[in-house]
Chain length 344, copies 2
């Protein structure tokens, strides 16, 4: 079963990508020379969720605003935004999606530099871009992306560190492989936990800040693999409206690692548990957050917030894998989805 | 009941806002002088959905890329992206949200011009911004926003037309009040139709291109008012993954007005109906699209795609209003939500 083994490959892939730092230093040096006003980011699906991480990461540490491209503007409406000042950034595991390549090509026509983050350094996307970060995750056979997601996040984190030439964060990166191994050790515990959700039909997944990306990716894996209706939210958007639908027993999945966001998330989690009587599954290192969950999933202590999305998604991947098995569905090739999106 | 009457006020508000075109011409002239590289747009909830429309509108007709702000970067992480070249655009019905005002203030500190689109021209947001478009929708008493949403869309459309000085589109705008009246005449038909969904627990709402915004706003109203789990998707994202969860009878709501997108949506709608046996509610003017729905909602013929979101959302608002009544819920003050979001 390649999905399960691909989830377990992640510490090794993270270790390998950390070893390619010097290549990324070189790319960062070139990008610093260009001094882009903002990043124009094109991606779909799992890679688009990685883009949500870049949005926070590059905004918080590199002061770079990120505009998410709307590829259909390019392909359907044939209207090209003016891109002066933009660094085009295309994120695609396969490097094959024509609509993502179209964004890079248009950037080139307008004289913008472009960066591809891809698992296929010999793909049409990689050939079209000026700079390529090869995430080197090895072939991903399962249709649901797991290891390429964390590798894309790590590539974005490495680039952020090198753009800022930040020694403190450079050192923090080195612990990622160990943290990844520690959460993989939760495999059996999560397999038992997933059984509780055998008959769950719908749920919401919440997170904020850096872990807004985690909420989206957890939700996407739930939908692709387990066929549950799973809607992702930022906690801010969630509490101003959609929280209305939370009744007793309503399942809420929460990515809540320690950090600047957590103290303001705790009152919401308390309200969900104590007032709404929601069913909470919480991924966190905070004892206070975990105590509010019927199903707590404990992260190792000491992960800095900016790196927490790379680790926090791993138990969520395991959860989705085991829930899929519990339901007797195909973990390798879920119905109706294909590996390469060929949307125009 | 103010929600119902506010929905019905829309033709009058649209007519009124069309009469303020010369003010918007003046603002457009100023913005053209500034020649922004891109728009940095800050909004929440319903206004954020209006921002999705601006993203397509200003991209397609004004070649302006739109970056959606992540307000928590400003308020939690205290990290300010560099905004050189950006036109800060803040969209807020109340003009009171501190996190939206923080984005305008930071833009000002960095020397960027700012535009507020608001229903409160005397609000702190309006005072903070360089340019203000008063959407003049009158007091909105119902907690769920309806008339301020369409008025925000229209303000964005007017600005697009004036920035491009486009006579063809300027003439097309004039038909909006009549089209709005025509869809409001569907009120009783939609009241009957809504009963069918009395016991629906979850659904998805899909749209693409200009009507990506319609899918998001329809979904938000369903969640806020009817407490159904309703997840919005672009059709592109939906068919590469989440479509897996569509089983026989699964309710799918579709915003599918005629335009460049529709021909490629039709095969998806056919697959949903014929292969997945989904339950389709389709808002469209296209006989081909409507024929695929168990519950067709017919738009007037001749609405150009760029204006269709302003009209297509109105029957969706009526649908949510009537479904809320059918379920015996409060249409005026849904549980747990407040009118002004004070997220930090």
């Amino acid at each position: 079963m390649s999905l399960h083994s691909e989830i377990h490959e992640q510490p090794t892939i993270i270790q390998g990508l950390l070893g390619k730092q010097s290549e990324i230093t070189r790319i960062a040096t070139e990008i610093r020379k260009i001094d882009p006003a903002y990043v124009f980011l094109a991606a779909r699906g799992t890679s688009d969720n990685a883009g949500r991480y870049a949005n926070y990461m590059w905004g918080a540490y590199n002061h770079l605003p990120v505009a998410l491209a709307t590829p259909s503007l390019f392909t359907y409406y044939q209207q090209m935004p003016k891109l002066n000042g933009a660094l085009i950034t295309a994120v695609s595991q396969s490097g094959q999606s024509p609509d993502i390549i179209a964004v890079v090509d248009e950037g080139k026509r307008q004289g913008c530099a472009s960066l591809a983050i891809t698992n296929a350094p010999d793909s049409p996307l990689a050939h079209a871009a000026n700079f390529v970060i090869d995430i080197a995750a090895g072939p991903e056979k399962a249709v649901a992306a797991t290891k390429t997601y964390t590798a894309e996040l790590l590539a974005m984190a490495l680039l952020s560190v090198e753009l800022a030439d930040d020694d403190v964060r450079r050192a923090e990166l080195q612990k990622l492989p160990i943290w990844a191994q520690q959460v993989l050790a939760l495999d059996e515990e999560i397999a038992r936990l997933a059984e509780r959700f055998r008959y769950m039909e719908h749920c919401v997944v919440i997170g904020r800040g850096f872990n807004y990306a985690t909420a989206f990716e957890w939700s996407l894996k739930l939908k692709e693999l387990t066929y549950s209706v799973a809607e992702p939210y930022s906690t801010a958007d969630f509490q101003h409206g959609p929280i209305a639908m939370v009744e007793r027993g309503f399942p809420v999945f929460v990515a809540a690692p320690s950090g600047i966001i957590l103290p303001d998330m705790l009152p919401l989690l308390r309200t969900l548990r104590e007032t709404h009587h929601a069913e909470l599954t919480i991924i966190s290192d905070s004892p206070e957050a975990l105590a509010l969950a019927q199903s707590p999933i404990q992260l190792p202590a000491g992960i800095p917030e900016w790196l927490s999305p790379i680790i926090a998604i791993i138990p969520a991947q395991l959860f989705c894998y085991h829930l899929t098995r519990t339901r007797g569905f195909d973990t390798e090739a879920p119905r109706t989805i294909r590996k390469v999106t060929e949307t125009h």
